[in-house]
Subunit: 158 residues, 2 copies
């Protein structure tokens, strides 16, 4: 599939995988701590961490050679998942957990205010909404049927 949503989900769409990434953003680096926080079986966690290392999302660094202990830290590819985590948390706060029951809040240190991240256009700075964008075929499109109907070439006359 050329769709990068589909291909991204193959790497990070599995439930526990994104929670491991969440905890890595919270500063967790060690197997025992991930295990305690996530409450999953050790062999399952070991597989998840290995998957994330192979995908280049986490880097495995030895911190105790004698005991064969490792830290797991976010790579640049892993750090780039931050907007995904923020948008999914905000969606959950609003639509699943509900306002007033959020587990965490973010403060923007730049302005000192509680903040919600909003998607804006990197060119003009306006907020982006689905109705304000048009989807076009990209260079890697191998199946034109992937596109919404409105973005496909118009059929010829007749």
């Amino acid at each position: 599939m050329s769709c990068s949503i589909a291909r991204s989900l193959e790497e990070v769409g599995e439930w526990w995988t994104l929670l491991v990434v969440r905890d890595a953003f919270f500063g967790i680096t060690r197997f025992e701590e991930f295990q305690e926080r996530l409450g999953i079986a050790r062999n399952v966690l070991a597989t998840r961490l290995q998957t994330l290392v192979e995908a280049g999302v986490l880097d495995r660094r030895c911190y105790d050679e004698a005991r064969g202990r490792y830290d797991y830290v976010l790579t640049d590819k892993g750090k780039a998942l931050w907007p995904v985590l923020v948008t999914i948390r905000q969606w959950g706060d609003q639509w699943v957990v509900g306002q007033g029951r959020e587990a965490i809040a973010m403060v923007h240190t730049g302005c000192g205010e509680p903040t919600t991240g909003v998607l804006t256009c990197d060119r003009c700075g306006e907020r982006l909404k689905p109705r304000d964008v048009r989807v076009l075929a990209g260079p890697g499109l191998d199946d034109p049927d992937l596109l919404p109907r409105s973005a496909r070439p118009a059929p010829g006359p007749g």
Copy 2:
């Protein structure tokens, strides 16, 4: 779990689920079309659609009572997933598929330029980056250990 990332993933973290939502944004509404685009077994798709209807992400509307046919359309809760899809697609374009191989591109009709959505602070409009935000306990936090160490109350002296 009070974490809304975890609770969101229970609703939409499963691989096919978000692809169904992607196609719904592309204007797909009918079972046969989802099935053709996603190439999954009919019983699997039926279960996924049912899950999304139960979660309130899709609404099921009868369009042919005689034949018992339905349209599946995004609810407001479903439409609110748009920033999640955009951020995960953009991550995949950059880190999985690679620049120059994107399947689709977005044009912002407001400014007419190809656009990448960036997360900005809803208060001051500055771009948000992980190092620019501080995480605090929210009203619904039932487990202080969920927070990153830096955000937990400092231990007392001694």
